[in-house]
């Protein structure tokens, strides 16, 4: 079936509204009863360092492709109805939104499972990089969980 990728998977500079993304997901089916959401925000500390702001760099094209792949696999492998995945790029202030995953399902257990899987997988395969600005200078963050 054709998927509305461009709506449900986005890498964008602008901030997003969680309510708006929830409405997009729940608009897909009246069977949705449980929505699990993960929102990642910019903390003021990272590995003991103070962080002033963060800049995300992404591989345009490949990043979107990987997020689409995560959405499609989530919808195939879990008993869920819809998934939206958003990631911001550019400069992000402390406390601001970075990443959002919204999973709508009939049953809440599957919504939670798929949402956790999607954020783990996003971190693992999506070509996005993070530059942290600290009082001591800039650091490209390397993370291997």
């Amino acid at each position: 079936m054709p998927t509305d990728d461009a709506q449900f998977v986005r890498v964008q500079r602008e901030d997003f509204s969680v309510d708006a993304e929830i409405n997009l997901v729940r608009g897909r089916s009246k069977r949705i009863g449980g929505i699990s959401i993960f929102l990642g925000t910019a903390r003021d500390r990272s590995k003991g360092r103070e962080v002033v702001s963060i800049t995300f760099d992404h591989y345009e094209g490949m990043a979107q492709r990987k997020l689409r792949e995560i959405r499609e696999r989530a919808m195939k492998d879990f008993d869920i109805i819809e998934v939206a995945i958003l990631h911001r790029y550019g400069e992000i202030g402390i406390g601001d939104n970075i990443v959002l995953i919204v999973v709508g399902a009939e049953h809440r257990a599957e919504a939670f499972r798929a949402c956790q899987w999607a954020i783990d997988e996003l971190k693992r395969i999506t070509p996005i990089w993070k530059l942290e600005y600290t009082p001591e200078g800039e650091v490209w963050v390397e993370e291997h969980p």
Binding site: G40, D57, A63, I98, V99, P127, K130, H144
Partner: protein, 86 residues
Amino acid sequence: MITVRLFGMTKSLAGNQDSLSLALTNGRQVKDLVELLDAGYPMIGELIHKKKVLVSVNQEIAHEETEILDGDELALLPPFAGGTPW
């Protein structure tokens, strides 16, 4: 000439360039590209040998023997750090 896109720390290691233009004359596989990087950008070459930086061809992670064809989209990918680190 081939163009290799740079991201994250590989950009910093190449003097903040967004991409490198390299003359790939002695072969047409990813390992030939890595040899060129070893010569011109030894710190990047070392990260590739340690598997800390991956090479992608047409937006897919490539291996040493992956062929490089004219017009292919090449990139160097440091460890991903999307989402939140926690």
